[in-house]
């Protein structure tokens, strides 16, 4: 039941982009078309789950026993960077079709703060491995949802006549604000769900 709660809360209530401000760069950068935003979401989901798994193991079995917790930032960013590099090489060899679809997004993900953010968050929240993986997966779905919905809005926005000063990033940010406002309607859902599922 805890898993369901993590799932709902990470997608709707504490959406990674619209409520926690992680991964804003790809959110604003690759949201012009629905196709590319779907590709980006898939790539992020893939990397985020794998990265969280590996960094959780590194933290629990290497950094903590060796009392090197202060090296967390360096260790995690190196793990994520090499993981992305490795996924790229493996995908190229094993599944050229998937590489074609995700390839161009992969290098961008190293500097996606959502990946490092989730890896650090699950450690801060002291989640166990199962919960961490679920959290990473749900967060990635939440990222994908926000990105795809936003891309749909932007496709429409491209067809409208926008006042000169607001063109470009200004109107995009205001639109993102309204979307974020819409997602605020979900706040409190996690509390209700907690009671409903009898977790309190």
């Amino acid at each position: 039941m805890e898993y369901l709660l993590i799932f709902i809360s990470a997608i709707f209530v504490n959406n990674i982009v619209l409520a926690q401000f992680l991964g804003i760069c790809p959110f604003l950068g690759v949201s012009k078309k629905i196709d590319t935003s779907l590709g980006m979401s898939a790539a992020v989901a893939f990397v985020m789950v794998l990265a969280t798994l590996v960094t959780w193991l590194v933290q629990t079995y290497v950094l903590v026993p060796a009392h090197l917790e202060y090296l967390q930032t360096i260790a995690f960013i190196l793990v994520i960077a090499s993981l992305v590099q490795m996924i790229e090489i493996i995908l190229k060899k094993v599944s050229p079709a998937l590489y074609q679809a995700l390839g161009i997004f992969l290098p961008l993900i190293t500097t996606n703060c959502a990946v490092l953010g989730v890896a650090i968050l699950v450690i801060q929240k002291e989640m166990n491995l199962g919960h961490s993986i679920m959290y990473a997966f749900s967060t990635a779905i939440g990222f994908g949802l926000a990105l795809t919905v936003f891309a749909g809005i932007r496709e429409q926005l491209a067809l409208t006549d926008i006042p000169k000063g607001m063109r470009g990033m200004a109107i995009v940010l205001v639109t993102a604000g309204l979307l974020s406002l819409a997602f605020m309607g979900f706040s409190g859902v996690d509390g209700g769900l907690r009671i409903l599922l009898g977790l309190d």
Binding site: Q20, G23, I24, T73, L78, G165
Partner: protein, 192 residues
């Protein structure tokens, strides 16, 4: 190149927030108040100055192929040092900014300046560029923080001057960040 010019470029022509639109995550997340925005700006500036200087010193020693990993390790080292210093001396700031201090590592401004400026210029010029870009970032974050704090909490740097009944809570919450930055960029566009 004239050092004063480099600083002016960093604040006006290459302003990381309003012109280059880099480092959006901390810009939106940490500007709930003017103080928080200022703290985040200064923290980023400190890291940027150190990394720009060190990367520029090492530019002839790093092979071209592995330069990005080298840059990232240098950046992560300084971020870790900063993280420890803030935890030790400014616990309040650590509590307010939280996750966004370690996330300075993935701030695109820092890697961007390493690649675009420090890898091509002398150490002193790179240090000055760090000051300029850092100041531009700090000013933008503080401005955003001031606007959001006035509208949302009726205060500037914690000094309240608007009665609580007239505060618009929205501007301190997540949507307010997007909307305020959107309109600030529109104003900057208009002024250009």
């Amino acid at each position: 190149m004239n050092y004063l010019n480099i600083i002016k470029n960093g604040i006006v022509k290459d302003n990381p927030t309003f012109v280059l639109m880099l480092g959006m995550c901390p810009t939106l997340a940490t500007t709930t108040s003017a103080g928080n925005g200022l703290a985040m700006g200064l923290a980023t500036m400190a890291v940027l100055m150190c990394t720009n200087f060190v990367i520029s010193c090492m530019k002839n020693l790093t092979p071209d192929k592995v330069r990005i990993p080298v840059f990232i390790v240098v950046i992560a080292t300084f971020v870790t040092l900063l993280q420890m210093a803030i935890k030790a001396y400014l616990p309040q700031v650590d509590k307010e900014l939280g996750l966004f201090i370690p996330l300075i590592v993935v701030n695109c401004i820092i890697l961007g300046r390493a690649e675009a400026f420090a890898a091509k210029n002398s150490p002193v010029a790179s240090l000055i560029d760090g000051v300029g870009i850092g100041l531009g970032f700090t000013l933008a974050l503080t401005l955003l923080g001031i606007v959001r704090e006035i509208l949302g909490a009726g205060a500037v740097f914690g000094y309240a001057f608007i009665p609580e009944d007239y505060n618009i809570l929205l501007f301190v919450l997540a949507p307010g960040a997007f909307i305020t930055l959107g309109y600030l960029i529109a104003i900057v566009n208009k002024l250009k």
